[in-house]
């Protein structure tokens, strides 16, 4: 089955990001395809590469990045939410004249249309948030 995920809560807030990661791992183990993970609202903070959690803590951003690389998962950050929260890729850096970028490997910035498309293309859309 084709499954997409929406994450609407930032990492290290409560639990939504970790629950979503555990769900994605279980779905992959069961042989399902994760079509896309869409990060919305504070969820876009899952996509920064500048986080440095303590070594004995889970690195949530890196875990997403590794999952995406291993299973070819499309990780999409909402552009409007990203602009408000300072999540920047090459295109956003040039467009908004920022002096750096912080998008994590495996993530890309795009629009809400990607969430709508995920809902249409997938058999299930599972939402995690606050």
């Amino acid at each position: 089955m084709k499954i997409s995920i929406q994450v609407s809560e930032g990492p290290y807030n409560h639990e939504a990001s970790v629950t979503a990661i555990n769900y994605v791992k279980a779905a992959l183990e069961a042989g399902h395809e994760i079509f896309r993970v869409f990060f919305y609202h504070d969820g876009v903070n899952n996509g920064t590469k500048f986080a440095t959690p303590p070594q004995d803590d889970m690195n949530i951003q890196k875990t997403w990045s590794e999952l995406a690389a291993a299973h070819n998962i499309d990780l999409v950050v909402c552009v409007a939410a990203a602009q408000r929260r300072g999540i920047v890729d090459q295109g956003e850096m040039e467009r908004n004249k920022k002096d750096g970028m912080n998008i994590m490997d495996g993530f890309r910035i795009s629009g809400l249309g990607q969430l709508i498309e995920a809902g249409i293309e997938s058999d299930r859309l599972v939402v995690f948030g606050d």
């Binding site: 409560h14 639990e15 629950t19 791992k25 279980a26 069961a30 299930r124 939402v127």
Partner: protein
């Protein structure tokens, strides 16, 4: 159409579980995750939310989230099934759609 409802906050903190059981169609499934698992404990002031609805809805609770909080499965309201993440995925597949009460 069967719906899996997920509730991730305790009924002692928010009213999402109460809204869910009030509006969910008979025959639906409710999965308690994260702090939502507190609502699955028997003997609480608000245990009646699930007690009164369990005839019409199937209730599930995410086992790892019970363990993470040091809660005991022995204290669960009768009739609630404990599942793991594999079971969570199976419920999303066996129902037609998933609705998160955030």
């Amino acid at each position: 159409m069967s719906i899996l409802h997920t509730v991730n906050k305790s009924t002692y903190e928010r009213d999402t579980l109460e809204a869910c059981v009030r509006l969910a169609a008979k025959g639906g499934s409710v999965l308690l995750i994260e702090d939502g698992v507190y609502s699955a404990m028997s003997g609480g002031n608000k245990s009646s939310v699930i007690e009164n609805a369990k005839g019409d809805l199937s209730f599930y609770v995410l086992g790892p989230d019970i363990k993470a909080r040091g809660l005991s499965e022995d204290r669960l309201i009768d009739g609630i099934k404990v599942i793991d993440y594999k079971g969570f995925v199976e419920l999303t597949v066996s129902n037609d759609t998933v609705s998160a009460w955030l």
